[in-house]
């Protein structure tokens, strides 16, 4: 009989629950060093667990390390190469910053330790606030929000609180109605309307022009309604284009009595070159996990600090980190604050990494990174504009938008191009976003890639375009080189299986 080989286990690693073997263990604790209290005296039986944690796996240390190492090899990652997700800024994550975050004096510091015993940590936060204020041109900074969407929510809640305070003080007769409309361009990320809704606003969409810019005429029209609380704008926008009318946009919103919130997702195009505060923006959130290189970690942790004008500063979340002489302390006595948005002070470990990033780049390094990020996107735009439809003519900032218009005539769509790119060794770009462009492909190379690799990406994209014409099936069935093929996501959503259960229980159900 012929020997039937099976793929190495690394390609077929089971779930930890399926690997479990009774009696194995991967830890050892010191023996209990106090007199043992009988269990019934410790806790009455009716509040104790009865299930002996059934189902929780039992594995040895090598079992655990091999398990997670094996499944890790199924991931693409920045350290492997270009990860050109538009509006996600997948730049290199320095190991030095990881080392800084693991210094015991930070890693082992309890958030409720006395202020005098945690001065170093408070100084880190204060110093980072100062740097972010300088970079954005907005002096009020809170590091508390835990991610971009959390920062958005905080920013628009600040707008709500500011308007309520102002309109209450003003008591304009006949204008008793609370301003309730938040204007958001139709190209915006979905978190923008979701955050506005969470903050009690009604969302109205602003159209984009055929140049990919915010439609000023439509903005004026919407502002004329008199109910406008503000505008949430991403700049450069999600088409990768700088909103060149930004000052006029801010002026129109301000004249209508509203405030301008900027989504800082695309700040990697601006650091050291231009500052939102100088453009008329009132409040912005930054993504430390994008622009300031803290690792994305497969979906977090992020960190989404809010930076605001001095006028909005009283509304920032509490507690604030403030300096008094040589001492740093936490200040919660801010009666106009929107309140607390997270327990403790934000994702401090990310604050450390971002500060390390800023300090190791310095003023010239920050600008150089921005220049390289834009230059790289420009190179891709130039190199691929003959091959792929580029819906907007303007030269892009740090990310460039293409569509599948030409390829879709042959039945090859954005999803297929993205999957085929995997076979060429690249992570796909952001796809089907922004929503205003059909078959969008948003490419953001970042500064962390050299020309040779950019050229390889360009070559791969051109090759896929050729395949779309000559060998469409290869593209339509991609990827061909991965452990598994395209997964049936529709079926997964129809009958969701969201957890593992022991086999016999599944059978019984």
């Amino acid at each position: 009989m012929a020997l039937k080989a099976t793929p190495h286990i690394t390609q077929n690693e089971a779930l930890v629950f399926e690997r479990s073997q009774t009696g194995r263990r991967g830890y050892r604790l010191p023996a209990l060093d106090v007199e043992e209290t009988p269990l019934d005296e410790l806790l009455p039986a009716d509040v104790r667990r009865e299930d002996d944690l059934e189902g929780v796996p039992e594995l040895s240390e090598p079992d655990v390390v091999r398990h997670f190492t094996r499944i890790s090899t199924w991931n693409y990652n920045i350290d492997l190469g270009l990860y050109p997700l538009g509006s996600c800024t997948m730049k290199y994550n320095s190991r030095l910053n990881e080392r800084v975050a693991r210094i015991q004096g930070f890693a082992n510091l309890h958030p409720l330790a006395a202020e005098e015993d945690s001065q170093g940590a408070l100084e880190v936060m204060y110093e980072l606030q100062q740097h972010l204020a300088e970079i954005t041109g907005l002096p009020g900074v809170s590091l508390q929000p835990a991610a971009g969407a959390h920062g958005e929510m905080t920013g628009v809640m600040m707008i709500r609180a500011f308007l309520d305070a102002r309109d209450e003080a003003g008591v304009e007769e006949g204008s008793q109605r609370r301003r309730s409309v938040m204007l958001i361009p139709d190209s915006a990320h979905g978190t923008n309307p979701a955050s506005a809704h969470l903050s009690g606003f009604t969302v109205k969409a602003i159209r984009s022009t055929n140049e990919g810019l915010t439609d000023l005429g439509h903005l004026r029209e919407l502002c004329a309604s008199g109910d406008v609380a503000g505008l949430m704008l991403t700049n450069p926008n999600t088409c990768g284009i700088f909103e060149r009318n930004i000052r006029e946009i801010c002026r129109v919103v301000h004249e209508a009595g509203g405030l301008v919130y900027m989504d800082g997702a695309n700040m990697n195009a601006l650091v050291g070159v231009a500052r939102p505060g100088d453009m008329g923006v009132d409040v912005i959130h930054l993504n430390l996990h994008k622009t300031f290189s803290t690792p994305h970690g497969g979906g977090g942790p992020g960190s989404g600090p809010c930076c605001s004008t001095a006028e909005l500063e009283p509304f920032l979340p509490v507690p604030r980190v403030v300096r008094e002489g040589e001492q740093f302390r936490l200040d919660s006595a801010r009666p106009q604050s929107v309140g607390r948005v997270k327990a403790f002070y934000g994702n401090f470990g990310m604050h450390l990494r971002a500060l390390a990033y800023i300090l190791t780049h310095g003023n010239t390094g920050l600008r150089e990174a921005t220049e390289a990020a834009v230059l790289n996107a420009r190179f891709i735009a130039d190199s691929l504009s003959d091959t792929f439809d580029k819906p907007f003519a303007s030269p892009p900032m740090h990310e460039v938008l293409f569509t599948d218009k030409r390829q879709s005539r042959k039945g090859v769509h954005t999803l297929d191009i993205a999957k085929r790119l995997i076979d060429y060794g690249f992570h796909p770009m952001t796809i089907y976003f922004p929503l205003i462009v059909q078959g969008a492909m948003l490419v953001e190379p970042t500064e962390s890639v050299g020309r040779a690799e950019l050229q390889q990406f360009v070559d791969a994209m051109k090759e896929i375009a050729r395949e779309a014409i000559e060998d469409a099936d290869t593209v339509l069935n991609a990827p061909h080189t991965t452990r598994i093929g395209r997964l049936d996501e529709a079926a997964a959503a129809r009958k969701p299986v969201l957890r593992w259960r022991p086999a016999e229980k599944t059978a019984a159900a």
């Binding site: 991967g26 060093d33 209290t37 410790l42 806790l43 104790r48 299930d51 944690l53 189902g55 929780v56 240390e61 655990v64 390390v65 499944i71 492997l80 990881e98 080392r99 210094i103 082992n108 510091l109 309890h110 958030p111 330790a113 945690s118 880190v124 300088e134 835990a146 991610a147 959390h150 809640m157 979905g190 978190t191 979701a194 969470l198 700088f242 060149r244 050291g272 070159v273 100088d278 996990h289 690792p295 994305h296 970690g297 497969g298 977090g300 607390r340 327990a343 401090f348 190791t360 310095g362 030269p395 993205a418 990827p479 395209r486 997964l487 049936d488 996501e489 959503a493 969701p496 957890r499």
Partner: protein, 442 residues
């Protein structure tokens, strides 16, 4: 490359930015530091965090637990920490399978049916649970126990400020330390009762009875847990009738790190799965029938539903959820129980020793896990300062931080990392500070 693109200078890259919006001078950020200088700088800052070097009995939402070395080692693999959200499943199966395992482990610990891929932390998980309870019940009042972590309550107040939800409070019994209220508080407008167990004062709540009372009024029971090590010993909220569990997972292998990043655990019953906030990973198959994992039920989420989404959350705490997954897997069925038992045993020892010190008492009678309130014969904040400066120990949290009317109460937390000698030193310190006080007075 500039020239290849027909540009003469880097400035031309920014031609689309109007001149009056460009920076006219360089940022005032200082010049770049080398690696050696940077490390010196941060080591020096870290050395000013004296609290990080002392034996500690601080808990109150952040706990010192032992994490096996492999937890931090494995999460530093490039494949995990430098990957993005797994939007391309074919090349993100490592992250997706780990999240699926995380979801399952959270279900097993909490005793619930489904769990999501994580929230920012316990406090935002509680806020999202309150918003979800309103969606499920369409009732606009939510009653929160006074024994819920005060910072969690503040976060929830911020989150619901514009959601049309009214937050009411439920008192704490002065004798037991448990949440206490009259059933008349539960009228038809109440969508949920929110309690924490073990609660902020360390007392284990009678969840079964609270669930029965909430359900009798048509309300949900939301259970908040700040100390996830307790799952190894205490009856899980799911087995007591909880509808939503919002927990802080920091105890599961995550360093204190001055308050973050941590990881919020969020779990509920099967029938509410589509009302959950946040990402969910589910099983999917490819054309060859091979099992894989994908992000699923995305129609709840902001990138599809925009303002109608169940939450605005996008990035969550992926890598910290992974750390917790590796921790739970390494400790395993036995280790999670052993950690919990050691915490409870050492806390019981500390309670006995402290209660025997003249002038100190334990005001609450309810069972505790590893945290408890101590009533001191002197002002707690001053006592703790002296313990730190004279006895080199972080003795706990002065409750006056949140409850000014309780100047003499402190919250003490004991975990498996506290050696008997540390507990004895704490007790000796309490005795000495108390004794020296009488000397000064006499």
């Amino acid at each position: 490359m500039l020239h290849a693109l027909g540009l003469n200078s880097a400035e031309e890259l920014f031609d689309s930015i109007p001149a009056d919006a460009l920076l006219r001078e360089p940022l005032k950020t200082p010049a770049a530091l080398s690696e050696i200088e940077l490390l010196e700088r941060f080591e020096s800052l870290a050395s000013r965090n004296a609290a990080a070097r002392r034996p500690s009995f601080l808990g109150a939402g952040a706990y010192s637990h032992y994490a096996p070395t492999i937890v931090d080692s494995v999460i530093q693999r490039s494949e995990f920490f430098t990957a993005y959200t797994p939007y391309q499943p074919e090349i993100s199966q490592g992250t997706l399978q780990a999240i699926f395992e995380f979801q399952t482990l959270v279900c097993q610990l909490t005793g619930m049916d489904v769990a999501n891929a994580s929230m920012y932390d316990g406090s935002t998980a509680m806020a999202e649970a309150v918003l979800m309870a309103e969606r499920v019940t369409r009732r606009s009042r939510v009653l929160v126990s006074d024994a819920v972590h005060p910072e969690y309550m503040q976060v929830t107040e911020t989150y619901v400020a514009h959601a049309g939800i009214e937050l009411g409070r439920l008192g704490v019994d002065a004798e037991t330390g448990r949440t206490a209220f009259d059933d008349s508080a539960l009228d038809k407008t109440v969508g949920a009762v929110v309690v924490q167990s073990p609660n902020f004062f360390g007392c284990v709540e009678d969840l079964k009875s609270l669930a029965d009372r909430a359900h009798a009024a048509g309300a949900l029971l939301v259970v908040v847990v700040t100390e996830s090590a307790s799952f190894g010993l205490l009856r899980p909220p799911g087995a007591c009738g909880a509808d939503i569990v919002a927990a802080e997972g920091q105890s599961l292998g995550v360093p204190l790190s001055f308050g973050g990043p941590y990881v919020g655990l969020f779990a509920t019953r099967e029938q509410y799965a589509r009302q959950m906030p946040g990402r969910l990973v589910g099983v999917a198959y490819d054309r060859e029938g091979r099992r894989g994992f994908v992000l699923t039920l995305a129609t709840r989420e902001q990138h599809i539903r925009r303002e109608k989404a169940t939450s605005n959350i996008c990035t969550n705490e992926g890598l910290i959820a992974l750390a917790a997954t590796i921790y739970m897997t390494t400790m395993g069925r036995k280790g999670l129980q052993e950690v919990a038992a050691q915490c409870a045993q050492k806390a019981a020892y500390a309670r006995r020793r402290i209660a025997a010190v003249e002038g100190f008492s334990l005001p609450y009678s309810a069972p505790v896990f590893n945290e408890f309130v101590v009533r001191a014969p002197l002002e707690a904040a001053g006592l703790l300062r002296r313990l730190a400066s004279e006895h080199n120990v972080n003795g706990g949290l002065a409750l006056s931080r949140h409850f000014p009317e309780r100047p003499n109460d402190l919250l003490v937390c004991v975990t498996e990392t506290n050696k008997r000698s540390e507990i004895d030193a704490l007790v000796a310190g309490l005795r000495e500070v108390q004794g020296s006080r009488f000397k000064v007075q006499s």
